[in-house]
């Protein structure tokens, strides 16, 4: 059994966006903070740190989850994917392009989390209805867009047959 002492820092190996990375964290370091500061992946944002706003949403083994409610150490068993994994060869993927074309973002703070939720939805439910899209989005707060164009962008991406995904 592994024990991570409170008083020390610990080296962990995490698999993030298809690559194994070593990070140095406290036992209490959240996955969100580890991604942002340990790995410089600042695309994942912190809006509440109590699991409601969805800004910190990442994929854990392909499934959307709150990175503010996971400890970095708990992520050792999993493959974590963040918004930085979506673009293909530096180009916006279809989902991201739909957001751009349909004005699905304004300040951009909630956007990465929403993109991860929709990335999972596009894979697991490519025939999702608008109701199902809104239910998937219900775990995300956006103060800017009123969700209207986010939903339109999601429906457009679904109609296109889903998003290509970055390197695993």
């Amino acid at each position: 059994m592994t024990k991570l002492d409170a008083a020390s820092r610990h080296d962990l190996t995490l698999r993030v966006n298809g690559r194994s990375q070593t990070v140095n964290v406290e036992s209490r370091t959240t996955l969100a903070d580890c991604l942002r500061h340990g790995l410089g992946l600042t695309g994942t944002h912190l809006g509440c740190e109590h699991g409601v706003c969805g800004s910190c949403t990442v994929l854990v083994d392909g499934v959307a989850a709150r990175s503010c409610l996971m400890l970095a150490a708990q992520a050792q068993r999993h493959h974590i994917e963040t918004v930085e994994s979506l673009a293909v060869d530096g180009q916006l993927n279809e989902l991201q392009q739909a957001f751009r074309e349909l004005h699905g973002l304004q300040c951009g703070f909630c956007t990465p989390g929403i993109l991860m939720t929709l990335t999972e939805l596009l894979k697991t439910n490519p025939d999702a209805s608008e109701d199902e899209v809104r239910r998937a989005l219900s775990g995300h707060l956006c103060r800017c867009t009123g969700y209207e164009n986010i939903v339109r962008a999601a429906m457009a991406a679904l109609a296109q047959g889903g998003a290509s995904h970055g390197p695993r």
Binding site: T2, K3, G54, V60, L69, M70, A73, T117, R135, G139
Partner: protein
């Protein structure tokens, strides 16, 4: 909001986890983290030793065991939601799980975590109460089984000792032709229920109520059955007026009260939502067939 320091233990077996709990004066287990991590982040809960259960494979999974379904405590709510076994044998649970939070919380949240957190309006404890679930609890060197009624002691307070872990819950399916209905009122989709109601009904060949189970969440300190209502419908034809009179019993239950949702409001919802749940269950129930049916 960052948590205060703690030692983090990552056991891979149940025994390892139990040993940490036994050996620490201030230890807690973390399952899905959807309730505990916010409390740690907000520094509302202080813990010296955090025991991560997510690496203990034996605590996950569902299986048929005799006439019951056994669900490991670390089974994700998402697994329940997507399980054909649950949909077929425990449709009340299948329906209720869809009300729990959001996709992004059900992916980590667990059956056991919800049972142990025992929020009075939480869906899984409400279903466990509706179905008279049996909970298996382990400590170092022994285990015990406790019915849900005895597990849920008070407001967010279970019978678990500090060195014990919930390992699984057994639910006995109702007959295939019985009806189920789970209804709740929350302010927004995915919010905690203010009041929820679960109804299970088995009809006799003559169309009377052979057996029924009525449960309310968000009313009493723990999810509670409504025996007065159950007794009033037992053996009776479930006509709308009889249902309304029976469900009205629910508004007599002393209810939680707070500045946002006072007692009278919860009592009003208790009776009316139970009525809705009963009607939903009846729509889905069909009378049991017997050999002597005409």
């Amino acid at each position: 909001m960052k948590p205060a320091p703690f030692n983090l233990h990552l056991p891979s077996t149940l025994d390892e986890a139990l040993a940490v709990l036994a050996g620490s004066s201030n230890a807690r287990a973390i399952a899905g983290g959807q309730s505990l991590m916010p409390m740690l982040n907000l520094r509302l809960a202080g813990v010296d030793d955090l025991v991560d259960l997510n690496g203990i494979a034996q605590l996950s999974g569902m299986a048929q065991d005799g006439d019951c379904i056994v669900i490991g405590a670390m089974t994700r709510q998402r697994e329940i939601e997507q399980s054909a076994l649950v949909a077929r044998t425990l449709p009340l649970l299948s329906e209720a799980v869809g009300y729990i939070g959001h996709n992004q919380t059900r992916s980590r949240g667990t059956v056991g975590g919800s049972l142990c957190n025992l929020d009075p309006s939480a869906e899984i404890p409400t279903v466990a109460m509706a179905m008279d679930g049996e909970l298996t609890i382990a400590r170092q060197g022994s285990q015990r089984t406790v019915p849900m009624r005895d597990f849920a002691l008070g407001l967010m307070s279970t019978c678990l000792d500090a060195d014990e872990l919930l390992t699984s819950v057994r639910l006995k399916p109702w007959p295939v032709k019985s009806g189920h209905g789970f209804v709740e009122f929350g302010r927004r989709h995915g919010d905690y229920a203010i009041v929820s109601a679960a109804a299970l009904i088995e009809l006799a060949p003559d169309g009377t109520v052979l057996r029924c189970s009525f449960t309310l969440g968000g009313v009493a300190h723990v999810p509670c059955r409504v025996p007065a209502a159950e007794q009033m419908l037992q053996g009776r034809r479930p006509e709308p007026e009889a249902i309304q009179k029976a469900c009205a019993q629910a508004s007599e239950i002393p209810a939680l009260t707070d500045p946002a949702y006072p007692e009278w409001y919860r009592q009003r919802l208790a009776a009316r939502l139970l009525e809705r749940a009963v009607h939903l269950a009846l729509e889905r129930a069909t009378p049991a067939l017997t050999k002597t049916a005409p």
